[in-house]
Amino acid sequence: MYKILTMKALNPTVMQMEIESPLVARKAQPGQFIILRVDEDGERIPLTVAGTDAQRGAVKIIFQIVGATTYQLSLKNEGEYIQDFVGPLGKPTELEGLKKVAIVGGGVGCAIALPIAEKLHEMGCEVHSYVGFRNKDLVILEDEFSAASDKLIMMTDDGSYGRKGVVTLPLQEALEAGEAYDEVITIGPLIMMKFVVATTRPFGVKTTVSMNPIMIDGTGMCGGCRLTVGGKTKFACVDGPDFDGFEVDFDEAMSRGASYRDFEKHAYDEACNLFKKEVQ
């Protein structure tokens, strides 16, 4: 059992939690992920590490309530326990030697992008962060991004905060204006990453994407997280989760990501109904 040290809502559907796991806290690097189960008989879900505090043995996770498991997790309280917590899994994001980087984050993906921006900033790298949200209410981690970035461009789909439009818009402008990034690192919905790659490809800027496919063991046993990268089968859990964006087959990844959509929708509705009944 693993203790929930702190928790808070970052916006109406995004939660931040710190889980006590000294061994993971000691090891986890930006870009790596953990797998957790909320309770006995629960499903295993992967979540990217959003930060660590080795002294307190705390691992920070940020998640959006999208299904039954994340919903159940959100109902927990500080001081309570979750059943399982294992990691750090996957390879850390390769940051060595980078001097100027664009971080492009979308929605809850920004939570995963933040530790990368922070690490780069700490290394003395120039960081330009392009972060996008659907609307003002969903904006998270603005202060943290601001502190870790030399330049922060905030976008919302509806223009209710920052500039109106998608993140690829200012990125395109910057690249056209001659911004020379060593690398673009992008984390967010698959469709966003696909368009980021389409934006950077003509400029030939190395673009790293962080993939978050369906996973079970997370240690290279089940093969559920396979992706086609450069025409070859790769496993996000041991070969990734970071990959060269120019090589990833996004359409296939999107199709595979929808494998259990009906099941998940049903499970989420069930979980919500159960909760409503309990409240009544």
Binding site: R37, T219, G220, M221, C222, G223, A258
Partner: protein
């Protein structure tokens, strides 16, 4: 007087048409009368060749003699001398190629049902034993075991009995390795695995779940920081292989590992399961090993109307245990032999890109094969019959064509050498790797093999670790 019947006592089993719809164990086990009758077929040979066929050297005639006498607990104690998982071995060992293959009674008629007797004895013990195993006096030496599958559990058990302070590290949330995620309930009930793990715990073995060695903690850290004097790596086989044919990433294509893990470990077959699994109607399982049989029979129990094994060689070359093939056939699994998939076909609605069916499996194109000359392994290699392609109507394909070794431990352990296909290199007599103090065994060394071979390797390494720590 020995029982001179040429046939084994048949194993009572659930009827095929009943068991095809439930996940309960297929084989029901001998009654005491059947066990004694079967035990009486043993000639108690002076030179028991059966024992030579057993990778863990169970004293077979001695335990069978106890069964003849009706001393079932005594029989269990005899088996326990060398085997730490009798209830498991009695169920999943390929006895027909091991102990029973050597049995003298097999020359004329069927061999003694050694596996069935082992199972009976172990089940009897589990049902009747009241005394908890005695925890041996500690010798103060710490040994780490990586992986809680058959190799790891055996190694841990042998060392614990000698008084070692053993900790088993498991990556999953539950101990048992392939015994819980791979082998289905209907062949090996999980309660039996749990019982074996509990027995080890009673002997003082600690089991730490959620520990991915190579990630959470490295082998070097185990030895330098955590004070383990030796480490046994029994981390199992690794990444599933795919055929590299078009369509393998369509929705509805699984590796057998994923399909079985969802079902067995994550209990996706239960009505209120939190982990989803595709309830397909027409399933093709590609491959011919035990894992393929397990996947096919699981798909059937999940409600498929039609399940086929697609294998590129003929029935004779099927690597699965004879009993598993027989059970699968009885249950109505179709064997489409001498066929090889060349492409998996997906649904694509050109009119509607958002059609939810897009990207799902609708068929599998295969080509017919014929057997050519024997290859280096002595097996006749299959050759494509030109122009013989045809399409199978399926909505789910399960690839069960083996695995390649997991890179996690190799990549994080300096000095641990692997062979050209990624298996950890060991000295066969001891299980010692190229890194001092580190031993390995099971699928991590051999690639996908059997439970009992993994147990044999765990046993060998336990003896070598004892020698290393205690001196000659």
């Amino acid at each position: 007087m020995p029982n001179m019947s040429l046939k084994k006592n048949p194993m009572p089993a659930q009827e095929p048409e009943v068991r095809a719809h439930n996940f309960k164990e297929v084989a029901l086990g001998y009654t005491a009368e059947q066990a004694i009758d079967e035990a009486n077929r043993c000639l108690n040979c002076k030179n028991p060749v059966c024992v030579k066929g057993c990778p863990v050297n169970v004293p077979i005639p001695q335990f069978i003699k106890k069964v003849q006498e009706g001393d079932f607990e005594g029989a269990y104690q005899v088996i326990s001398l060398t085997s730490s998982l009798p209830a498991v071995c009695g169920r999943v060992c390929p006895q027909e190629t091991q102990c029973e293959a050597k049995c003298i009674r097999g020359i004329k008629g069927e061999p003694v049902g050694i596996g069935r007797l082992e199972r009976f004895v172990a089940d009897y013990h589990n049902e009747h034993a009241t005394e908890a195993p005695v925890k041996p006096e500690s010798n103060g030496h710490k040994v780490a075991v990586v992986g809680s599958g058959p190799a790891g559990l055996t190694c841990a058990g042998d060392l614990a009995k000698k008084g070692y302070d053993v900790t088993v590290f498991e990556a999953f949330h539950l101990a048992g390795g392939v015994l819980v995620y791979g082998i289905p309930e209907f062949r090996l009930p999980k309660a039996i695995v749990q019982k074996e793990v509990d027995t080890l715990k009673a002997l003082g073995v600690k089991v730490e779940t959620n520990m991915v060695i190579g990630k959470t903690v490295t082998i070097d850290e185990l030895m330098e920081e955590f004070g383990f004097e030796a480490v046994f790596v029994g981390s199992g086989a690794g990444l599933p292989r795919f055929m590299r044919i078009p369509g393998e990433s369509l929705r509805g294509v699984y590796s057998a590992n994923e399909f079985l893990t969802r079902n067995n470990l994550m209990k996706a077959y239960k009505d209120n399961a939190t982990t989803p699994i595709l309830r397909a109607k027409k399933v093709a399982v590609v491959g011919g090993g035990n894992v393929a049989m397990d996947a096919a029979r699981t798909a059937l129990r999940l409600g498929a109307d039609e399940v086929s094994i697609v294998y590129r060689r003929s029935l004779e070359e099927l690597p699965a245990r004879a009993e598993e093939v027989e059970h699968a056939m009885e249950e109505g699994i179709q064997f489409r032999l001498l066929n090889n998939p060349v492409e998996i076909l997906g649904y694509n609605n050109p009119e509607d890109k958002r059609d939810p069916k897009n990207g799902t499996v609708v068929g599998m194109k295969c080509i017919k094969m014929e057997l050519g000359e024997p290859d280096a392994s002595g097996r006749r290699s299959p050759v494509e019959v030109p122009g013989s392609e045809f399409v199978m109507d399926v909505d789910c394909v399960i690839m069960s064509i083996g695995t390649s070794p997991n890179p996690l431990i190799k990549d994080t352990t300096a000095g641990l050498e692997v062979n050209r296909w990624g298996g950890i290199i060991v000295t066969e007599e001891t299980g010692a790797t190229t890194k001092p103090g580190v031993y390995a065994g099971g699928d991590a060394v051999t690639g996908a093999a059997t439970v009992i071979l993994a147990m044999g390797a765990g046993k060998t390494a336990a003896a070598a670790i004892d020698k290393q720590i205690m001196g000659e």
